[in-house]
């Protein structure tokens, strides 16, 4: 059973004609990496999969029903999105920010209960930001804010994780920790789709890869079929050297 599937999907990138129709089926337990140069439409694809943006053509199926027909609240119980950039109009504490992940589950008259708090605090603990719980988010560093945003989605506990560059702003240790968290989610039966700029993270942690080209063409498949040096050099227009470390390929950009 697929949790998320696209049928003849073409995403709506302004000023771009045509492109490959995406027919992707994402099953529980899979970790997908979306790779592509700047402006290829990675974020647009993620927002289209989340139902925040209408596709140019085709459709997205969530649990075998058309995404556009589902109520937002129901979608939010199945599907969580880590945004690339966040705006905070009004100051809020770290704990309050994580708690809004429970919003889809609470009825309008319901206040957050002990269980909601426990989930939010566990998520903060898991992302190593529990000590910041009473700080205002606006006073945190970029990496700390990124971890709070991931903790919010962890509190939301969706079946499908859509993460837009989840390792943005993170130091090396927390990059690994976040990728390990994504892998752990997949082992527990969730599906994970993330946009990445770091080929090496994709090579180490993803089992499926989607390559998105600036002209709208795309190809996808298992990691080993996709992470071919010549294809990647073509994708990024950048010469690469490949070495193997710890059983996984490591791609290094080289001159020329």
């Amino acid at each position: 059973m697929s949790v998320l599937a696209t049928r003849n999907l073409i995403i709506d990138v302004p000023g771009r004609e045509g492109g490959t129709q995406l027919n992707i089926t994402i099953e529980p337990g899979q970790v997908w990496g979306v790779l592509g140069p700047n402006g290829a439409g990675k974020t647009t694809l993620l927002h289209t999969l989340a139902g925040l943006q209408a596709p140019r053509s085709g459709s997205v199926q969530l649990n075998d029903s058309a995404l556009g027909q589902l109520r937002r609240r129901h979608v939010a119980q199945c599907l969580g999105l880590v945004f690339q950039d966040r705006q905070d109009g009004f100051p809020a504490t770290v704990l309050e920010t994580a708690l809004i992940g429970r919003h889809p589950y609470l009825s309008p008259w319901q206040m957050e209960g002990a269980e909601d708090y426990a989930r939010a605090e566990a998520a903060l603990e898991r992302l190593d930001v529990a000590h910041l719980r009473d700080r205002l988010v606006s006073t945190l560093s970029g990496g700390e804010r990124q971890r709070v945003a991931i903790a919010t989605v962890l509190t939301q506990a969706p079946n499908v994780w859509l993460a837009d560059e989840p390792t943005n702003h993170l130091d090396l240790h927390h990059q690994s920790a976040v990728m390990a968290l994504m892998a752990e989610q997949a082992i527990q039966g969730q599906a994970v789709i993330m946009c990445l700029h770091d080929l090496n993270l994709a090579a180490r942690w993803c089992d499926h890869v989607l390559l998105l080209y600036p002209n709208g063409e795309a190809c996808w498949g298992s990691r080993d079929n996709m992470l071919v040096p010549s294809a990647l050099e073509d994708l990024y227009r950048q010469k690469l050297a490949v070495v193997e470390v710890d059983g996984a390929p490591v791609f290094v950009p080289i001159k020329g």
Partner: protein, 328 residues
């Protein structure tokens, strides 16, 4: 959780009741709280003095105090809603040109020599007209965004301002004081307090279940949509509610400045940003502030009255600056 909401709200409720007692007691003749209690409870009247007190409280001071409370509450709640809608802490109920539209309606009625109800009706019509105008223009051919709505509102308000100045310049001198008082906000026109008071109560009841959605919306429309909020319907709902509240307030008491900007701000600095707490707190604190300001306005240079808008600004500006200076 309930305790976190309960304590500030009970304190504000006590302050609101105290302000109403002060408003009923203070004036050309002082009436003690004990007398007010007797009058309100309908205890038997003994002697001439008490009959006078009864008339003064029941027929004059109580309706005016309740009107002030309702108007202050409406403005503060409308301001808080606009701030969430536009995600801009500087937004106030008038930012979309509503008071300008209402002022033009009211001034036109006054110029035409109409009185009472016609002025209120005309003001209400002007407020709604301005709302639709701003929204229609901001919507344009695409969708509206907060910054576009804000800019359209500011420009339309500036346009109204010019028209108001023009009307004042062309008005006969004997009508000017009334018009100026209306523009600065004045509660002596307020008749029955019940319509705005009921509207305030109904709005609070409707907004409580929306509170958490507003909290999520304050973090941006995309984040809100990703967390299951139907963003566009909610934004429409806020826009209509805030416009209606402001129109009702402006119709009752003219355009009283500052309450709608400062009260939500002060409460956010003191109580945080949970809309479930901020919105009812705004209703209570805005009401209290305007009751006190109106009491000052009618007693400071008695028997003359000051426009209450002057008092709200004179009280509000230093308090607000102090809080802002002290905040993180």
């Amino acid at each position: 959780m309930l305790a976190r909401l309960g304590l500030p709200l009970s304190l504000l409720l006590l302050a609101a009741l105290a302000s109403l007692v002060i408003a009923m007691g203070v004036g050309s003749a002082q009436i003690s709280p004990a007398q007010i209690w007797q009058v309100l409870m309908g205890d038997s009247v003994q002697g001439q003095g008490d009959a006078l007190a009864r008339t003064m409280v029941i027929e004059l001071r109580l309706p005016r105090a309740l009107s002030a409370f309702a108007v202050g509450g409406l403005l503060a709640v409308a301001g808080a809603l606009m701030q969430v809608l536009l995600r801009n802490p500087l937004a106030d109920p008038y930012v979309l040109g509503l008071s300008g539209g209402a002022s033009i309606g009211a001034l036109a009625a006054m110029l035409g020599g109409l009185g009472g109800l016609a002025i209120s009706g005309s003001a209400f019509g002007g407020a709604l007209l301005s709302t639709f105008l701003v929204f229609g223009l901001a919507h344009g051919s695409g969708g509206w965004t907060p910054s576009r709505l804000l800019l359209t509102g500011v420009v339309v308000a500036a346009g109204w301002g010019a028209v108001i100045t023009l009307m004042l310049a062309l008005s006969p001198a004997e009508r000017l004081p009334g018009m100026l008082y209306w523009l600065m906000g004045d509660l002596s026109y307020a008749r029955t307090p019940w319509p705005p008071l009921l509207l305030l109560l109904a709005t609070c009841v409707v907004l409580i279940p929306l509170g958490r959605s507003l909290n999520v919306l304050a973090r941006g429309p995309q984040q809100a949509a990703a967390l299951g909020v139907a963003v566009r319907p909610l934004e429409w709902c806020i826009y209509i509610a805030a416009s209606l509240l402001t129109a009702a307030a402006v119709t009752t008491a003219g355009s009283i400045g500052f309450v709608g900007l400062v009260v939500p701000h002060m409460l956010r600095l003191l109580l945080g940003n949970d809309q479930r707490l901020i919105l009812p707190a705004c209703a209570l604190a805005g009401g209290t502030l305007l009751v006190l300001a109106d009491t000052l306005a009618r007693t400071m240079i008695a028997p003359e009255q000051l426009p209450v808008g002057v008092i709200t600004a004179l009280l509000g500006v230093p308090t607000f600056l102090f809080l802002l200076y002290r905040s993180r």
